[in-house]
Amino acid sequence: MSAESPRIGVYVCNCGTNIAKVVDCDAVADFASQLPGVVVARSYKYMCSNPGQEMIVQDIQEQQLDRVVVASCSPRMHEPTFRRALQSASLNPYFLEMANIREQVSWVHDDGAIATDKAKALVRAAVNRVTRHEPLESMSVDMCPDTLIIGGGIAGMTAALEFADAGKRAYLVEKLDHLGGNVARVDLTAPYMDAAGDIVADRVRRVIESPNIEVFLNSEVRSLDGFVGNFTAMIHTSEGPAGNGHDVKVRVGNVVVCTGYKEFDATRVTHYGYGKLPNVITSFEFEHMLHEGRIEMKDGRPPQYVAIIHCVGSRSPEFHTYCSRVCCMTALKYAREVKSALPTSYVSDIYIDMHAFGKGMEDFYRRSSEIKTLFLMYKRGDHPVIRKADPGDDCDMLIEVHEQLSGETIEIPADLVILMVGMEAREDSEEVAHLVNISRDKDGWFIESHPKLDPVATTTEGIYIAGACAAPKDIPDTVAQARAAAGRILSKIARGKIEIEAVYAEVDEERCSGCRICNDLCPYVAIEYDPETKRSHVISALCKACGACVAACPSGAIKARHFTDAQIFAEIEGVLA
């Protein structure tokens, strides 16, 4: 097909009223129909709907269109939809260009006339660009059916068992000398009060017994090379007959990162006297007490007054602004455990907001108040203050709270104070992120491909995340994510081969000087230097076509497919014309 006499179809989507309420879509279509090369231009209510797609297919076939412009939403959601439509009409899917007239126009402008002008400019740019599009073919590579799982907590074990049950091999790498992660440190679980130990022990047994799971304890993944379907991981393990470390090399198709979280370090909060007052402890220290079966003060006496303080390190401007999600219900669990162990004790629960979402949790909250838990609400940023009680008092400490529900400033007696420490990203999360080439957010949590629609995938193909390494999460959500990640990977393994996006950068080795500027610049570690030829080349399966190397190459030797200079200049000219 020649770019000189293109036959372009332009489709202006109304998106119900999302676009049409601001942009005059018919006027945009009329305008498009006047543009050079445009054979047909239409405005329609929903282009992404089946009739909308059929309209495109029919036009391609009846009017011999060779290029299509869809002016609608951001390509993020529906570019694959329209590419498939082109494909079904036997047209190369890369002859599509989308003009974003929703997010970039109708949702951000009020003035209809100006918005319509902008939409026209964007459509003109898209028409200009699509004229210069080239047909691209995506490639497919073999998928190695084995999977590497980093982290032997509840998420890692669950994912490993999913692979094992499907008859696939999983390598489970755990840094510590035992499996179970943070869940193994917990006594009972909210809201049904079943023992975390049972949940963990059963999984550990099945993991160890499974012939399909190879467990590496006291081990770390030192390096991960390759790309989706074909990774090579180097596992350094201190296990072995001699006790000295050795490296194991495994080939895997996918990686699930389940590195979990670490608890907030309570010594960073000075106002609760943690570390100074002997009977101020963290939630995990309390879990340890529960494990031991003894709730007691430092001097061995059982506490008469137990106070639980929420949001230690969470929802605070100084530490973490996010909510750690599990602490509220864990606090209620403590209230119940204290009451059942010490029926004559008094539990006060000092919180900011009670987050009781999730199955069974609101009932759990109600039941916890029925056992006479005193709930006291403090304001974010106006934390309670603990002081030692006076000699005459029947308690060890007094906690001053500006109680929000009553408006009163009160002092509540306490013998034992439990600080509900939040979750935070592990110290090694940066290292892990670098190792598997994924990103972290401002709090250090790994970033998912899409927070709602693609929560276990990452922006790196073949790397998945599950559980609390992505954000604070409870056990059910963690398990669900582990299974989701395993399911995603198993469906790819079942296909045997994987399609790789046809859009990537290419090095013209004739022009490459071997300066290696691009090597370190590439955020996806997709560029390799060949010391023999003294040239760099792009591993296309890893490349995300971000264009960093293209811009940086001093020799102009790198070209990004689908983002050529000609295409981009044409688009700019279209906008500015």
Partner: protein, 385 residues
């Protein structure tokens, strides 16, 4: 200055009927549905909170529980079944026990056995006393006349003695109530003149219970009003016209028509209340404290024995009438002597007083120029501008 919370207070209130207050999570539906809940008297929500936190002195200083007539709507609306209406009721019981300086009220509310025991003891003492008195100076075969077993002038003297003792107890408790809620308040100093200008509210609230009529359900108010008016009528008859009531043989209709009406009112309304409590017909009758039963049973039996002795006397059965009279007195004395100062009956004084205090407070706050904390006049339409 921080107020010390006492998490144990909630346990102390359980015998008073407040076991469900723990379920409250302060959504405020109760206060939203209550026609009387207005700043600064945000009840039941606020008193429930104070109770949960165990702010004992705050509760002792608050008149809020007395501003509630317990229509039960709050309890119907409560999403947590925290029974806000019953919590207010239990706070009234607790406050009654705090106002009472003898400590007897506390014992009554904490143990129904103690209260029943006290009633029986006083009843037996009354029987013994009146039998001894009757046999010492009269004949059991004579109801009236010179040999009357229990001559009305003597009973009259006894009634007045009892009344003075009760009044003294009630007034001293009321004075304590004033001290806790008004006197010791350093922030709001009510001017003496306000106590005088607002004094008319006391009889108004006592006799009309007009605020109760503002609750959405009207039937309880009418029954309560009938009971109260019958009781007051009977009290006036006994205190001032006892001689005319007891004397025969002719019936003095000026006196007796009121007596019969009051009897019908007392028996009818106490049966209605008993039936409501037995069938738990609506929210306010669902949780009957032992003191509620003791009170209603005494009221009904006092009225019944009262009218029975009258009928027996009129039928010429003097001995039976005398025995019934002694029985009647054996019920009247504990009912008045124990219930009025120490138990449920005492609300006849505390409730009108609380509404009166609320209006006096409103005057004081207005004088102190605190428009943001200006209370709504509790007297409602009754308050002159």
């Amino acid at each position: 200055m921080a107020i010390r919370a006492n998490p144990k207070l909630i346990d102390e209130l359980v015998p008073y009927g407040a076991e469900d207050v723990v379920k409250c999570y302060q959504c405020g539906n109760c206060s939203a549905v209550c026609p009387f809940s207005k700043q600064p008297y945000v009840f039941p929500r606020k008193p429930m909170r104070l109770l949960q936190m165990g702010l004992e002195e705050k509760i002792k200083s608050s008149i809020d529980p007395w501003l509630c007539y317990y229509c039960g709507q709050c309890s119907e609306q409560c999403p947590r079944e925290a029974e806000p209406g019953e919590t207010m009721m239990s706070l009234r019981r607790w406050l009654t026990s705090r106002y009472d300086w003898t400590g007897i009220s506390r014992l009554f509310y904490k143990s129904w056995r103690f209260e029943v025991g006290a009633v029986i003891l006083v009843a037996l003492a009354t029987v013994a006393g009146f039998l001894a008195f009757g046999f010492s100076q009269g004949s059991i075969h004579h109801y009236d006349g010179p040999h009357a077993f229990l001559p009305s002038p003597s009973i009259h003297i006894f009634d007045w003695t009892l009344a003075i003792v009760l009044l003294a107890l009630l007034l001293s408790n009321a004075a304590r109530m004033w001290w806790f809620t008004m006197g010791r308040d350093k922030e709001v100093k009510a001017p003496l003149s306000a106590y005088f200008t607002k004094a008319y509210l006391l009889p108004v609230h006592f006799f009309t219970q007009k605020r109760y009529s503002q609750c959405e359900h009207k039937a309880p108010w009418l029954t309560h009003l009938a009971l109260m008016l019958s009781y007051v009528t009977m009290l006036v008859l006994i205190m001032f016209f006892l001689r005319d009531m007891a004397a025969g043989p002719a019936i003095d209709w000026h006196v007796h028509i009121f007596g019969y009406l009051a009897t019908i009112g007392l028996i009818g309304s106490s049966i209605l209340f008993l039936r409501s409590r037995i069938t738990k017909s609506s929210a306010q009758y669902k949780h009957s404290h032992e003191s509620d039963w003791i009170f209603l049973v005494l009221l009904l039996t006092v009225a019944a024995t009262g009218i029975l002795q009258h009928i027996l006397h009129r039928s010429g059965l003097d001995m039976a009438a005398n025995i019934m009279y002694v029985t009647h007195l054996a019920l009247v004395v504990p009912m008045l002597g124990l219930e009025v100062p120490f138990s449920k009956w005492s609300h006849l004084a505390y409730r009108p007083l609380a509404m009166y205090f609320a209006d006096v407070r409103a005057v004081a706050l207005a004088r102190q120029g605190q428009p943001e904390s200006m209370p709504e006049p509790v007297g409602g339409g009754l308050r002159t501008a």
